[in-house]
Structure formats: C-alpha cells, structure tokens
Symmetry: C2
Subunit: 282 residues, 2 copies
C-alpha cells in the first residue's frame, strides 16, 4: 500500500494512493493517521469503501507525508562506499544525529539557503515508525515499521564542520524534503535491496543500494530504541551512498537554479529547485 | 517571578511560586502556559487575583517545568575552564547537539541507567524561550527569554564516544532533570553571573559562574535562530563548567545510590538519586 499526505482544495488530508488518484482517510496527514493504532485496518477499509470520495491525482498536491514527527533521527556513514569515500572505516555502532520536524519539507518544495554556500546533497531511504518501540529487538522493530519513504538530507557543509558536532549543518529549517509516498513493507524490502538515486539537473551523482547498508532499518530502530522511545510517526533516515559533493575533487555544491532529484524506484521521486540567497550570490 | 509545573492531588498545573506555596494558572504545565502570548500578563494577574486558589507548598509536588518543548538544544564546551579541562581550545562557534522532550525528567526524579556504566554529570543553566525567534538579533533574543532554570545534562560517556557524534550518549530517556523553577529575567542575570554547582553525596564536584560563558544565553538563541526557528517553551542548555567525572584521573562515574545535587542559587536545586541497573551491577 502507498499512503500520502495531500492538499485538496483548502483541505489537508491523509490518503491512500490508488490508480489515478487518492482515497482520503480520516486524518489531516499521515503523522496524525499513524497515531491511531488501527491505522492499517483503517487504510484497508478506506480503499474498499471509499471510492465515492476518490480524488483525482491532478486535483491534489502532494505534501510532506510526515509533517509532525516527535523525533527525526539520522544515521550517518551507513553505506560502505560512502564511508570509504569519506576516508573512514566501517563502524561498529551507528553514527546518529537529530533533526526536527521543522527541518522537513514537501517533496517538491523549493530549497533556499541564506547562510551557507556549501550546500550538499544526501539521497536517503527514510523509515517511518508504525508503533511504539522501547528496548525492542530487531524482530519487533521490523514488525513496527509503518513504511519507507525518500529523503534528501541536504547538508550545509560549512556549518556541519564549524564544530565537532554535525547537528547545526543538518538542522536548517525546510531543507530535508521527504516523500512523495509512504510505502508499506509488504511492497518494498530494503534488505533485499532498493536503489537510492540522486541527480542534479538530470546528471546522476549518487546511486547506491540499500542491501549494502551497514545498519539496516530494523537494526537502526532496535538500536535507537535501546536509549530512547520511538513512537508511531517518528522518522529515521538511514544514511546516504557515495557521490556527495563534499567527496568530489574539487568539492561541488548546489548552485542557484539547480534541480535536485532524489529517487527510490518503488517509492517515488523528490524534485527540489535550489536557490542560493547568500549575499555573495546577490 | 518564579513559575513552576506542579502536581496537586490528581491535577497537573502551571503555577506562580509565592511565599509558602503556589497560585495556579490556567494551564496544565508551563509548556502549555508559555504558548499563550499573554503569559506574562496572565501570570501577574493570577498573583493579584488568585490568592483564593492558593496551594500550600507541602500539598504539591514539583515536576519538570517544561515537559513538552518542541526543541531541546544543548551547547557543549561553553565554559572556558571546562574547555581547557577537556583539552580543547576556545571555540569560534558554539558546539550544538539535540535532546528530546523524552530526555527530560522531574527535578527530584530517580535516574536509572540500564545500558551504561559510564554515567557522568554536567550541571547547567537552561534557558527557556518565551516567544518565537527566527533570524533574531542578540537584542531580540534577550527580550524573548522567558526565564532560566537548572538542568543536569547527565551523559553516558561510553555511548557518547562510540561514534564522532555525541547525540546517542546525550539522549537517553529520562536522564536530564530540569527545574525546579523557571525564574524570569527580571530576577536573575546570568551575564552578571550566577553560580552553577554540582554535588555528589554532598561533595562539591563542579562550581562555575555563568559570567565565564563563551556564548551567553542571548548569543546562543540568536545563533540557533539563524538556522532553525525557536518557539515559546523551547529549551536551550548552555553547557557545563569544569569538574565532570570524565575529566578526573582516574575518570569517576555515578554509582548506585549516589545522590546528585545540581544547584543554581536564585533558581533552586535538583536532587536526583542514581541507580545503575546494568548486569555487572546486579
């Protein structure tokens, strides 16, 4: 099943994605919808009984599927090729940092930078939690996954490197597009492998496969839940494959007008136009 | 003015602290109360008109004043003596990392550790935001401060050092006590200087003065607001002075039964009993 958060006329709605459009759900977005423990049944029932409420695809705008997570936790250095590109060794533990709900934005949002000229891309598979996890085993964590979506952990490398802690370069408001759909685990298996692709103006810069993740989704959720509770609607980003701009010689960063495309076949594509607004660009 | 979040019989209430007790406010806690833009006036009015609702101090339990911040952001390495103790140089930029609302706990809560035996203390002044800050100047940030409270950024040093990012050692649920009161800026001026003291079983281990902060409260809020919006009820921890266990030779960590006291004269004291539950301690 594919789920989405959409704008239809003046309404914001959670919805099931069906052929040619959407069947609306009784919630304003998927963050709210996933907090109902019956969400899986409710989504199935909506498809069976809800065709009279069908919204055609061209009547709706797709929004950030998960606008109000209580936690957004990211794993760095999780693809073996990206780890080697950054000059590091394969890790024993996942490298984790946090973002906020405010960091996220819509799948087709424009991305602005006012305070950094070193804006880099990081195409990622994102995992959305479907029920509470506390000290969970990997098996329990796997069963609690609501689904998968696409993210780009756009990073201000200058701010990321101002101090030892990456957080400030990773938490600029409205810089992590998420979406377009939440795909349930019965339709997508990242352990078997899905491609994670990033393009700039159509030129492919990243292509990795989630089967090469050092820490798979269930492993990450289990590990995180050993120190902090994960709840329905929380989001975990699984890291980026090789091909980021910082790893290039010379380093390459986003320029005004660049169109950043982030795709995971089986989920969908984010398309974000970038605008640099720092004074040097004015 | 001193404000608190209290438990009175079955009710949770925000309250103004007055001689011998509390005058309740129309909110369940200060997180909720601060979201009302009129909170300053409402608190003053409650004191004038609310004496008939007086709750005696011994009838109430003091809780975490700010249970549901949308952001908890911490500054590391901010006291010159602690920076030198850790073998580092004075920073050009604040070192920032995030916690969650779940990381916070009550001023007199018991603190448990199930997964770490390297549990260290970090007494800190915490700043609570009183209104929205976005790209704010230091002057605007100063005016937006709701008040100050006490925190102990209890840190799992083994987890903190598993990777380059400190976050996982800083975000264990229920390990950062906060409180007991929120003191408004007219009663407390950390730039002029307040003492930040930590004791273990009555033995003083930390004593610093906020006038030695590299980045003062308004400077931190202004800096943070240059990349992410701060809102009423958000919490910023300003860093810890010298005297943490990790800096001792040999390193010293909390043991089961230790009573950790964290005090800022003019605000109050946190008193937390620590219990180690890892198997080696069983």
């Amino acid at each position: 099943m594919k789920l989405a958060s959409i704008q239809f006329k003046t309404q914001r709605l959670a919805a099931v994605v069906v052929d040619g459009g959407y069947v609306p759900l009784q919630a304003q977005n998927l963050s709210e919808f996933l907090r109902d423990e019956q969400w899986r049944n409710l989504a199935r029932q909506a498809v069976v009984s809800g065709s009279s409420n069908f919204i055609a695809a061209n009547e709706a705008t797709i929004l950030n599927p998960i606008p109000t997570p209580t936690k957004v936790i990211c794993c760095g250095l999780n693809y073996s090729d990206h780890i080697l590109e950054m000059g590091r060794e394969l890790p024993e533990y996942p490298t984790l940092f946090a973002k906020f709900a405010d960091t996220l934005t819509d799948p087709n949002a424009q991305i602005f930078s006012e305070n950094s000229e070193s804006v880099d891309w990081e195409a990622e598979l994102a995992v959305v939690v479907g029920s509470t996890l506390c000290q969970a085993t990997e098996k329990d964590a796997l069963e609690a996954i609501a689904g998968y979506t696409v993210a780009n952990d756009i990073s201000m490398r200058d701010w990321q490197r101002r101090t030892l802690q990456w957080f400030q370069g990773k938490a600029f408001d409205g810089t992590t597009p998420l979406g377009p759909y939440l795909v349930t685990p019965d339709e997508l298996d990242p352990v078997a492998g899905v491609e994670v692709i990033c393009r700039i103006n159509g030129e492919e810069v990243q292509r990795g496969n989630t089967r090469t993740l050092v820490f798979a989704a269930a492993s990450l959720l289990s590990y995180i839940s050993s120190f902090t509770t994960l709840r329905a609607g929380d989001v975990v980003l699984t890291g980026t494959p090789g091909g980021v701009g910082m790893g290039m010689t010379p380093p390459r960063f986003l320029r005004s007008g660049d169109v950043l495309s982030t795709e995971i076949p089986g989920i969908g594509e984010l398309v974000n136009t970038f605008t640099l607004r720092v004074s040097a660009d004015a």
